[in-house]
Protein backbone atom coordinates (compact mmCIF):
# COMPACT_ATOMS: atom_id res chain seq x y z
CA UNK A 1 0.00 0.00 0.00
CA UNK A 2 1.10 3.58 -0.57
CA UNK A 3 3.82 2.29 -2.86
CA UNK A 4 4.19 5.82 -4.13
CA UNK A 5 6.14 6.74 -1.05
CA UNK A 6 8.94 4.34 -1.79
CA UNK A 7 8.75 4.29 -5.54
CA UNK A 8 12.00 3.10 -7.05
CA UNK A 9 12.89 3.55 -10.67
CA UNK A 10 14.04 0.10 -11.68
CA UNK A 11 16.61 -0.13 -14.46
CA UNK A 12 15.71 -2.77 -17.06
CA UNK A 13 17.93 -5.79 -16.60
CA UNK A 14 17.63 -8.00 -19.66
CA UNK A 15 16.62 -7.93 -23.31
CA UNK A 16 13.02 -9.01 -22.75
CA UNK A 17 12.52 -6.26 -20.18
CA UNK A 18 14.10 -3.80 -22.57
CA UNK A 19 11.69 -4.75 -25.37
CA UNK A 20 8.80 -4.41 -22.97
CA UNK A 21 10.04 -1.08 -21.80
CA UNK A 22 10.49 0.22 -25.34
CA UNK A 23 6.94 -0.76 -26.18
CA UNK A 24 5.46 1.05 -23.16
CA UNK A 25 7.72 4.07 -23.73
CA UNK A 26 6.61 4.28 -27.37
CA UNK A 27 2.96 3.99 -26.33
CA UNK A 28 3.31 6.84 -23.82
CA UNK A 29 5.27 8.99 -26.28
CA UNK A 30 2.47 8.49 -28.79
CA UNK A 31 -0.17 9.55 -26.29
CA UNK A 32 1.80 12.70 -25.47
CA UNK A 33 2.56 13.62 -29.09
CA UNK A 34 -0.45 16.01 -29.44
CA UNK A 35 0.88 18.09 -26.54
CA UNK A 36 4.30 18.88 -28.04
CA UNK A 37 5.08 22.58 -28.04
CA UNK A 38 8.03 22.67 -30.43
CA UNK A 39 10.22 20.54 -32.68
CA UNK A 40 11.93 18.80 -29.79
CA UNK A 41 11.09 15.10 -29.76
CA UNK A 42 9.51 13.59 -26.67
CA UNK A 43 12.17 11.54 -24.92
CA UNK A 44 12.44 9.65 -21.67
CA UNK A 45 13.70 12.75 -19.89
CA UNK A 46 10.83 15.00 -21.06
CA UNK A 47 9.15 16.55 -18.02
CA UNK A 48 5.48 15.96 -18.78
CA UNK A 49 3.73 19.01 -17.30
CA UNK A 50 6.68 21.38 -17.87
CA UNK A 51 8.03 20.59 -21.32
CA UNK A 52 4.64 19.83 -22.89
CA UNK A 53 1.44 21.82 -23.23
CA UNK A 54 -0.58 19.48 -21.02
CA UNK A 55 -2.24 20.30 -17.70
CA UNK A 56 -2.48 17.98 -14.72
CA UNK A 57 -6.13 17.17 -15.46
CA UNK A 58 -5.27 15.94 -18.95
CA UNK A 59 -2.41 13.91 -17.48
CA UNK A 60 -4.85 12.26 -15.06
CA UNK A 61 -7.20 11.50 -17.98
CA UNK A 62 -4.33 9.99 -19.96
CA UNK A 63 -3.42 7.85 -16.96
CA UNK A 64 -6.97 6.41 -16.96
CA UNK A 65 -6.42 5.33 -20.58
CA UNK A 66 -3.09 3.77 -19.67
CA UNK A 67 -4.71 1.92 -16.74
CA UNK A 68 -7.21 0.36 -19.13
CA UNK A 69 -4.60 -0.39 -21.80
CA UNK A 70 -2.43 -2.38 -19.36
CA UNK A 71 -5.21 -3.44 -16.97
CA UNK A 72 -3.49 -1.94 -13.95
CA UNK A 73 -4.32 0.56 -11.20
CA UNK A 74 -2.21 3.72 -11.11
CA UNK A 75 -3.37 5.66 -8.04
CA UNK A 76 -3.50 9.46 -8.15
CA UNK A 77 -1.08 9.45 -5.22
CA UNK A 78 1.46 7.82 -7.56
CA UNK A 79 0.62 10.07 -10.52
CA UNK A 80 1.36 13.17 -8.50
CA UNK A 81 4.94 11.99 -7.99
CA UNK A 82 5.60 11.23 -11.64
CA UNK A 83 7.43 13.97 -13.55
CA UNK A 84 9.13 12.48 -16.60
CA UNK A 85 8.15 10.13 -19.41
CA UNK A 86 10.73 7.66 -18.05
CA UNK A 87 9.15 7.73 -14.61
CA UNK A 88 5.69 7.10 -16.05
CA UNK A 89 7.05 4.25 -18.17
CA UNK A 90 8.78 2.63 -15.22
CA UNK A 91 5.69 3.05 -13.06
CA UNK A 92 3.59 1.17 -15.63
CA UNK A 93 6.20 -1.61 -15.82
CA UNK A 94 6.55 -1.83 -12.06
CA UNK A 95 2.80 -2.02 -11.41
CA UNK A 96 2.23 -4.40 -14.30
CA UNK A 97 5.02 -6.58 -12.91
CA UNK A 98 3.03 -6.84 -9.70
CA UNK A 99 5.27 -4.62 -7.57
Amino acid sequence: MRASHNLKIVEPMDDVATDDRLEVLEDIRGRLEPYRTDDRAIVGGTVITKDLNIDSLAVMDMVMEIEDRYDISIPLNVVSEIHTVDELTDTVLRIRGGH
Binding site: M1, R2, D55, L57, A58, M60, D61, V63, M64, E67, D68, D71, I72, S73, P75, L76, N77
Partner: protein, 405 residues
Amino acid sequence: MGLFDRHAGTIARSRAMLVDGFHPLSVRMDRVLSPTEALIGGRHTILLGTNNYFGLTFDQSCIDAAVEATRLEGTGTTGSRIANGSYGDHLDLETEMAEFFGMKHCMVFTTGYQANLGFISSLVGEGDFLVLDADSHASIYDACKHTQATIIRFKHNDPASLEARLRRLDKEPGNKLVVVEGIYSMMGDTAPLKAFVEITKRHGGYILVDEAHSLGALGEGGRGLVEAAGVLDQVDFVVGTFSKTLGAIGGFAVSNHDDFDILRVMTRAYMFTASLPPSIVASVRAALKVVRARPDLRVRLWENVATLYDGLAALGFRLGPEHGPVVAVHMPNEQTTIGCWRALLEEGVYVNLAVPPATPSGGSLLRCSLSAAHDRAQIDKVVAAFGRVGERFGLLDRQKVAAID
Protein backbone atom coordinates in the same frame (compact mmCIF):
# COMPACT_ATOMS: atom_id res chain seq x y z
CA MET B 1 11.25 34.53 -5.84
CA GLY B 2 8.41 36.22 -3.96
CA LEU B 3 5.42 34.50 -2.41
CA PHE B 4 3.09 35.55 -5.20
CA ASP B 5 5.47 34.82 -8.08
CA ARG B 6 4.22 31.24 -8.25
CA HIS B 7 0.85 32.67 -9.29
CA ALA B 8 2.31 34.74 -12.15
CA GLY B 9 0.58 32.64 -14.81
CA THR B 10 -2.80 32.91 -13.10
CA ILE B 11 -2.31 36.63 -12.53
CA ALA B 12 -1.67 37.12 -16.27
CA ARG B 13 -4.73 35.01 -17.13
CA SER B 14 -6.86 36.97 -14.69
CA ARG B 15 -5.69 40.29 -16.21
CA ALA B 16 -6.65 39.05 -19.64
CA MET B 17 -10.21 38.62 -18.34
CA LEU B 18 -10.46 42.31 -17.53
CA VAL B 19 -12.69 44.06 -20.07
CA ASP B 20 -13.20 47.85 -19.82
CA GLY B 21 -12.13 47.80 -16.16
CA PHE B 22 -14.72 45.12 -15.48
CA HIS B 23 -13.71 41.73 -14.11
CA PRO B 24 -16.06 38.74 -14.55
CA LEU B 25 -14.93 37.14 -11.32
CA SER B 26 -15.73 40.16 -9.16
CA VAL B 27 -19.27 41.15 -10.02
CA ARG B 28 -20.94 43.39 -7.49
CA MET B 29 -24.63 42.72 -6.97
CA ASP B 30 -25.81 46.10 -5.73
CA ARG B 31 -28.96 44.55 -4.46
CA VAL B 32 -30.49 41.10 -4.70
CA LEU B 33 -34.21 41.70 -5.23
CA SER B 34 -35.62 38.19 -5.37
CA PRO B 35 -34.46 34.61 -6.04
CA THR B 36 -34.36 35.48 -9.74
CA GLU B 37 -33.48 39.17 -9.97
CA ALA B 38 -30.75 41.57 -8.84
CA LEU B 39 -29.60 45.09 -9.51
CA ILE B 40 -26.16 44.96 -11.13
CA GLY B 41 -24.60 48.25 -12.23
CA GLY B 42 -28.02 49.91 -11.97
CA ARG B 43 -29.61 47.34 -14.29
CA HIS B 44 -32.38 44.89 -13.39
CA THR B 45 -30.74 41.57 -14.12
CA ILE B 46 -32.25 38.08 -14.36
CA LEU B 47 -30.25 35.68 -12.18
CA LEU B 48 -29.60 32.45 -14.03
CA GLY B 49 -26.66 31.16 -12.03
CA THR B 50 -27.78 30.87 -8.42
CA ASN B 51 -28.37 27.13 -7.76
CA ASN B 52 -31.45 28.46 -5.95
CA TYR B 53 -33.47 25.60 -7.41
CA PHE B 54 -36.71 26.16 -5.48
CA GLY B 55 -36.25 29.90 -4.95
CA LEU B 56 -36.48 29.44 -1.18
CA THR B 57 -34.06 32.24 -0.22
CA PHE B 58 -37.07 34.58 -0.14
CA ASP B 59 -39.66 32.09 1.10
CA GLN B 60 -41.66 33.81 3.84
CA SER B 61 -41.71 30.80 6.18
CA CYS B 62 -37.91 30.46 5.91
CA ILE B 63 -37.33 34.17 6.49
CA ASP B 64 -39.70 34.23 9.48
CA ALA B 65 -38.02 31.17 11.01
CA ALA B 66 -34.56 32.73 10.63
CA VAL B 67 -35.64 36.06 12.14
CA GLU B 68 -37.38 34.38 15.05
CA ALA B 69 -34.38 32.14 15.78
CA THR B 70 -32.04 35.12 15.76
CA ARG B 71 -34.25 36.96 18.26
CA LEU B 72 -34.47 33.90 20.51
CA GLU B 73 -30.93 32.48 20.32
CA GLY B 74 -28.71 35.20 18.89
CA THR B 75 -26.68 35.69 15.73
CA GLY B 76 -24.08 32.95 16.08
CA THR B 77 -22.88 29.95 18.08
CA THR B 78 -19.31 31.32 18.38
CA GLY B 79 -17.72 27.90 18.42
CA SER B 80 -17.77 24.25 17.47
CA ARG B 81 -20.35 21.78 18.71
CA ILE B 82 -17.65 19.62 20.28
CA ALA B 83 -16.39 22.51 22.42
CA ASN B 84 -19.44 24.75 22.85
CA GLY B 85 -22.13 22.11 22.75
CA SER B 86 -24.99 21.56 20.32
CA TYR B 87 -28.04 23.79 20.30
CA GLY B 88 -31.26 21.82 20.43
CA ASP B 89 -32.03 23.04 16.92
CA HIS B 90 -28.84 21.46 15.51
CA LEU B 91 -29.99 18.10 16.85
CA ASP B 92 -33.55 18.61 15.63
CA LEU B 93 -32.27 19.46 12.15
CA GLU B 94 -30.15 16.28 12.15
CA THR B 95 -33.13 14.20 13.21
CA GLU B 96 -35.27 15.73 10.46
CA MET B 97 -32.63 15.25 7.75
CA ALA B 98 -32.13 11.61 8.78
CA GLU B 99 -35.90 11.07 8.71
CA PHE B 100 -36.17 12.76 5.31
CA PHE B 101 -33.77 10.18 3.85
CA GLY B 102 -35.14 7.32 5.94
CA MET B 103 -31.71 6.87 7.55
CA LYS B 104 -30.74 6.48 11.20
CA HIS B 105 -28.02 9.09 11.48
CA CYS B 106 -27.16 12.58 10.28
CA MET B 107 -24.27 14.93 10.83
CA VAL B 108 -24.65 18.58 9.92
CA PHE B 109 -21.65 20.62 8.72
CA THR B 110 -21.09 24.35 8.42
CA THR B 111 -20.73 24.19 4.63
CA GLY B 112 -21.27 21.58 1.94
CA TYR B 113 -17.60 21.85 1.03
CA GLN B 114 -16.63 20.90 4.58
CA ALA B 115 -19.10 18.02 4.55
CA ASN B 116 -17.30 16.40 1.60
CA LEU B 117 -13.83 17.43 2.69
CA GLY B 118 -14.21 16.21 6.26
CA PHE B 119 -16.59 13.33 5.93
CA ILE B 120 -15.01 11.55 2.96
CA SER B 121 -11.46 11.97 4.26
CA SER B 122 -12.47 10.52 7.66
CA LEU B 123 -14.29 7.53 6.19
CA VAL B 124 -11.23 6.04 4.50
CA GLY B 125 -7.66 5.75 5.68
CA GLU B 126 -4.37 3.98 5.05
CA GLY B 127 -4.87 0.75 3.13
CA ASP B 128 -8.30 1.79 1.85
CA PHE B 129 -9.26 2.86 -1.66
CA LEU B 130 -11.21 5.97 -2.61
CA VAL B 131 -12.66 5.37 -6.07
CA LEU B 132 -14.10 8.51 -7.60
CA ASP B 133 -15.74 9.76 -10.75
CA ALA B 134 -13.24 11.77 -12.80
CA ASP B 135 -15.54 14.82 -12.87
CA SER B 136 -15.99 14.98 -9.10
CA HIS B 137 -16.42 18.34 -7.40
CA ALA B 138 -13.37 20.15 -5.99
CA SER B 139 -14.52 19.36 -2.44
CA ILE B 140 -14.22 15.64 -3.21
CA TYR B 141 -10.78 16.07 -4.78
CA ASP B 142 -9.69 18.11 -1.78
CA ALA B 143 -10.85 15.30 0.51
CA CYS B 144 -8.33 13.09 -1.35
CA LYS B 145 -5.52 15.30 -0.05
CA HIS B 146 -6.69 14.80 3.53
CA THR B 147 -6.63 11.00 3.57
CA GLN B 148 -3.96 8.32 3.46
CA ALA B 149 -6.22 6.17 1.29
CA THR B 150 -5.17 5.28 -2.26
CA ILE B 151 -7.07 7.34 -4.85
CA ILE B 152 -8.35 5.78 -8.07
CA ARG B 153 -10.34 7.70 -10.72
CA PHE B 154 -12.83 6.21 -13.16
CA LYS B 155 -14.21 7.74 -16.35
CA HIS B 156 -17.09 10.12 -15.80
CA ASN B 157 -20.47 8.37 -15.56
CA ASP B 158 -18.99 5.18 -17.04
CA PRO B 159 -20.08 1.97 -15.24
CA ALA B 160 -17.65 -0.19 -17.28
CA SER B 161 -14.78 2.04 -16.18
CA LEU B 162 -15.81 1.72 -12.51
CA GLU B 163 -16.22 -2.04 -12.90
CA ALA B 164 -12.72 -2.42 -14.38
CA ARG B 165 -11.17 -0.48 -11.51
CA LEU B 166 -13.01 -2.37 -8.77
CA ARG B 167 -12.16 -5.67 -10.44
CA ARG B 168 -8.45 -4.75 -10.39
CA LEU B 169 -8.78 -4.06 -6.66
CA ASP B 170 -10.67 -7.28 -5.89
CA LYS B 171 -7.65 -8.93 -4.31
CA GLU B 172 -6.73 -5.88 -2.23
CA PRO B 173 -7.82 -6.23 1.39
CA GLY B 174 -8.62 -2.54 2.01
CA ASN B 175 -12.12 -1.01 2.03
CA LYS B 176 -13.30 0.51 -1.21
CA LEU B 177 -15.41 3.67 -1.09
CA VAL B 178 -16.98 4.75 -4.39
CA VAL B 179 -17.94 8.43 -4.61
CA VAL B 180 -20.40 9.77 -7.20
CA GLU B 181 -22.71 12.77 -7.54
CA GLY B 182 -26.45 12.83 -8.24
CA ILE B 183 -26.25 15.72 -10.69
CA TYR B 184 -22.87 17.03 -11.84
CA SER B 185 -22.51 20.71 -11.10
CA MET B 186 -20.97 21.83 -14.37
CA MET B 187 -22.65 19.76 -17.10
CA GLY B 188 -25.92 19.09 -15.27
CA ASP B 189 -25.92 15.37 -16.12
CA THR B 190 -27.08 12.63 -13.75
CA ALA B 191 -25.10 9.56 -12.74
CA PRO B 192 -26.14 6.04 -13.90
CA LEU B 193 -26.61 5.36 -10.20
CA LYS B 194 -28.43 2.03 -10.32
CA ALA B 195 -25.54 0.50 -12.27
CA PHE B 196 -22.94 2.13 -10.01
CA VAL B 197 -24.64 0.76 -6.87
CA GLU B 198 -24.95 -2.73 -8.33
CA ILE B 199 -21.29 -2.83 -9.43
CA THR B 200 -20.04 -1.41 -6.13
CA LYS B 201 -22.01 -3.92 -4.06
CA ARG B 202 -20.93 -6.83 -6.26
CA HIS B 203 -17.31 -5.94 -5.54
CA GLY B 204 -17.94 -5.51 -1.82
CA GLY B 205 -17.50 -1.73 -1.79
CA TYR B 206 -19.29 1.14 -0.08
CA ILE B 207 -20.98 3.89 -2.06
CA LEU B 208 -21.42 7.56 -1.21
CA VAL B 209 -23.67 9.83 -3.28
CA ASP B 210 -23.36 13.62 -3.22
CA GLU B 211 -26.84 15.05 -3.80
CA ALA B 212 -25.78 18.71 -3.67
CA HIS B 213 -27.49 19.64 -6.94
CA SER B 214 -30.21 16.99 -6.92
CA LEU B 215 -31.82 17.43 -3.49
CA GLY B 216 -35.29 18.77 -4.22
CA ALA B 217 -34.81 18.47 -7.97
CA LEU B 218 -34.94 14.66 -8.31
CA GLY B 219 -37.16 11.96 -6.80
CA GLU B 220 -40.87 11.96 -5.99
CA GLY B 221 -40.09 13.30 -2.52
CA GLY B 222 -37.15 15.47 -3.56
CA ARG B 223 -34.59 13.13 -1.99
CA GLY B 224 -32.36 13.29 -5.01
CA LEU B 225 -31.07 10.69 -7.44
CA VAL B 226 -30.92 8.01 -4.71
CA GLU B 227 -34.72 8.21 -4.61
CA ALA B 228 -35.25 8.64 -8.36
CA ALA B 229 -33.05 5.61 -9.10
CA GLY B 230 -34.71 3.54 -6.36
CA VAL B 231 -31.51 2.88 -4.42
CA LEU B 232 -32.11 4.91 -1.26
CA ASP B 233 -32.01 1.72 0.82
CA GLN B 234 -28.82 0.46 -0.85
CA VAL B 235 -26.43 3.40 -0.67
CA ASP B 236 -24.16 3.70 2.35
CA PHE B 237 -23.92 7.46 2.61
CA VAL B 238 -25.67 10.49 1.17
CA VAL B 239 -24.04 13.90 1.50
CA GLY B 240 -25.41 17.23 0.40
CA THR B 241 -25.73 20.91 0.99
CA PHE B 242 -28.16 23.42 2.43
CA SER B 243 -26.89 26.13 0.09
CA LYS B 244 -28.84 25.26 -3.04
CA THR B 245 -32.45 24.01 -2.94
CA LEU B 246 -32.64 24.69 0.82
CA GLY B 247 -31.61 28.31 0.28
CA ALA B 248 -29.07 28.87 3.07
CA ILE B 249 -25.64 27.38 3.80
CA GLY B 250 -24.35 24.21 5.41
CA GLY B 251 -23.83 20.56 4.58
CA PHE B 252 -24.96 17.16 5.80
CA ALA B 253 -24.16 13.47 5.69
CA VAL B 254 -26.70 10.72 6.43
CA SER B 255 -26.24 6.98 6.86
CA ASN B 256 -27.58 3.81 8.43
CA HIS B 257 -24.18 2.60 9.65
CA ASP B 258 -24.33 2.02 13.40
CA ASP B 259 -20.99 3.57 14.35
CA PHE B 260 -21.65 6.68 12.28
CA ASP B 261 -21.58 9.07 15.25
CA ILE B 262 -17.92 8.37 16.03
CA LEU B 263 -17.13 10.50 12.97
CA ARG B 264 -18.11 13.56 15.02
CA VAL B 265 -14.82 13.22 16.86
CA MET B 266 -12.83 11.98 13.87
CA THR B 267 -13.75 14.70 11.37
CA ARG B 268 -11.61 17.80 11.75
CA ALA B 269 -13.75 19.91 9.40
CA TYR B 270 -16.61 19.26 11.85
CA MET B 271 -14.69 19.58 15.12
CA PHE B 272 -12.54 22.61 14.50
CA THR B 273 -14.98 25.07 12.99
CA ALA B 274 -17.92 27.02 14.38
CA SER B 275 -21.32 25.37 13.99
CA LEU B 276 -24.20 26.79 11.96
CA PRO B 277 -25.90 29.84 13.52
CA PRO B 278 -29.49 29.52 14.81
CA SER B 279 -30.93 31.55 11.91
CA ILE B 280 -29.53 29.16 9.29
CA VAL B 281 -30.59 26.04 11.17
CA ALA B 282 -34.11 27.48 11.51
CA SER B 283 -34.44 28.50 7.85
CA VAL B 284 -33.12 25.13 6.66
CA ARG B 285 -35.66 23.30 8.84
CA ALA B 286 -38.41 25.51 7.38
CA ALA B 287 -37.08 24.93 3.84
CA LEU B 288 -37.14 21.16 4.35
CA LYS B 289 -40.81 21.46 5.29
CA VAL B 290 -41.44 23.38 2.05
CA VAL B 291 -39.64 20.69 0.01
CA ARG B 292 -41.85 18.03 1.62
CA ALA B 293 -45.07 20.01 1.17
CA ARG B 294 -44.57 21.53 -2.29
CA PRO B 295 -43.85 18.97 -5.03
CA ASP B 296 -45.30 21.55 -7.43
CA LEU B 297 -42.01 23.48 -7.09
CA ARG B 298 -40.17 20.51 -8.60
CA VAL B 299 -42.65 20.37 -11.48
CA ARG B 300 -42.22 24.10 -12.05
CA LEU B 301 -38.40 23.77 -11.96
CA TRP B 302 -38.41 21.06 -14.65
CA GLU B 303 -40.83 23.07 -16.81
CA ASN B 304 -38.32 25.92 -16.69
CA VAL B 305 -35.47 23.52 -17.47
CA ALA B 306 -37.31 22.29 -20.57
CA THR B 307 -38.11 25.83 -21.74
CA LEU B 308 -34.50 26.99 -21.44
CA TYR B 309 -32.78 23.81 -22.67
CA ASP B 310 -35.08 23.32 -25.65
CA GLY B 311 -35.01 27.04 -26.46
CA LEU B 312 -31.21 27.18 -26.52
CA ALA B 313 -30.96 23.88 -28.41
CA ALA B 314 -33.37 25.19 -31.06
CA LEU B 315 -31.16 28.26 -31.49
CA GLY B 316 -28.25 25.95 -32.27
CA PHE B 317 -26.21 26.15 -29.06
CA ARG B 318 -24.24 23.09 -28.01
CA LEU B 319 -25.50 22.06 -24.57
CA GLY B 320 -24.83 19.57 -21.78
CA PRO B 321 -26.03 16.00 -22.46
CA GLU B 322 -29.49 16.11 -20.87
CA HIS B 323 -32.20 18.25 -19.30
CA GLY B 324 -31.17 19.24 -15.78
CA PRO B 325 -31.45 22.11 -13.31
CA VAL B 326 -27.97 23.02 -14.53
CA VAL B 327 -27.82 23.82 -18.24
CA ALA B 328 -24.28 24.04 -19.61
CA VAL B 329 -23.69 25.97 -22.85
CA HIS B 330 -20.46 24.88 -24.56
CA MET B 331 -18.20 27.66 -25.77
CA PRO B 332 -15.37 27.41 -28.29
CA ASN B 333 -12.68 29.07 -26.12
CA GLU B 334 -12.07 31.14 -22.99
CA GLN B 335 -11.98 34.55 -24.67
CA THR B 336 -15.29 33.98 -26.49
CA THR B 337 -16.81 32.72 -23.24
CA ILE B 338 -15.79 35.91 -21.44
CA GLY B 339 -17.11 38.05 -24.33
CA CYS B 340 -20.47 36.24 -24.39
CA TRP B 341 -20.75 36.32 -20.63
CA ARG B 342 -20.21 40.08 -20.63
CA ALA B 343 -22.66 40.60 -23.52
CA LEU B 344 -25.32 38.59 -21.64
CA LEU B 345 -24.80 40.74 -18.56
CA GLU B 346 -25.36 43.82 -20.72
CA GLU B 347 -28.56 42.15 -21.90
CA GLY B 348 -29.59 41.86 -18.24
CA VAL B 349 -28.84 38.13 -17.80
CA TYR B 350 -26.39 36.81 -15.21
CA VAL B 351 -24.98 33.32 -15.82
CA ASN B 352 -21.89 31.61 -14.38
CA LEU B 353 -18.65 31.97 -16.26
CA ALA B 354 -17.01 28.54 -16.05
CA VAL B 355 -13.45 28.05 -17.29
CA PRO B 356 -10.74 25.44 -16.59
CA PRO B 357 -9.81 24.06 -14.11
CA ALA B 358 -13.39 24.28 -12.77
CA THR B 359 -14.75 22.59 -15.90
CA PRO B 360 -14.37 19.01 -17.17
CA SER B 361 -12.04 18.19 -20.05
CA GLY B 362 -10.55 21.68 -20.25
CA GLY B 363 -13.61 23.24 -21.91
CA SER B 364 -15.20 26.63 -21.26
CA LEU B 365 -18.90 26.98 -20.46
CA LEU B 366 -21.64 29.45 -19.81
CA ARG B 367 -23.29 27.66 -16.90
CA CYS B 368 -26.96 28.37 -16.28
CA SER B 369 -29.01 27.13 -13.35
CA LEU B 370 -32.79 27.25 -13.20
CA SER B 371 -35.17 28.01 -10.37
CA ALA B 372 -38.81 27.18 -9.77
CA ALA B 373 -39.10 30.91 -9.08
CA HIS B 374 -38.29 31.92 -12.68
CA ASP B 375 -41.42 32.81 -14.62
CA ARG B 376 -41.96 32.01 -18.26
CA ALA B 377 -41.40 35.61 -19.35
CA GLN B 378 -37.96 35.61 -17.72
CA ILE B 379 -36.88 32.40 -19.46
CA ASP B 380 -38.17 33.71 -22.79
CA LYS B 381 -36.11 36.88 -22.29
CA VAL B 382 -33.04 34.80 -21.47
CA VAL B 383 -33.44 32.65 -24.60
CA ALA B 384 -33.87 35.75 -26.75
CA ALA B 385 -30.76 37.35 -25.19
CA PHE B 386 -28.74 34.17 -25.83
CA GLY B 387 -29.95 34.25 -29.42
CA ARG B 388 -28.69 37.80 -29.98
CA VAL B 389 -25.37 37.14 -28.25
CA GLY B 390 -24.85 33.82 -30.04
CA GLU B 391 -25.57 35.51 -33.37
CA ARG B 392 -23.12 38.31 -32.62
CA PHE B 393 -20.33 35.88 -31.73
CA GLY B 394 -21.11 33.51 -34.62
CA LEU B 395 -21.89 30.57 -32.37
CA LEU B 396 -25.16 29.38 -33.81
CA ASP B 397 -25.84 26.60 -36.23
CA ARG B 398 -27.14 28.64 -39.19
CA GLN B 399 -29.44 25.95 -40.53
CA LYS B 400 -31.21 25.57 -37.22
CA VAL B 401 -31.73 29.32 -36.99
CA ALA B 402 -33.09 29.35 -40.55
CA ALA B 403 -35.44 26.48 -39.74
CA ILE B 404 -36.97 28.40 -36.83
CA ASP B 405 -37.39 31.51 -38.96
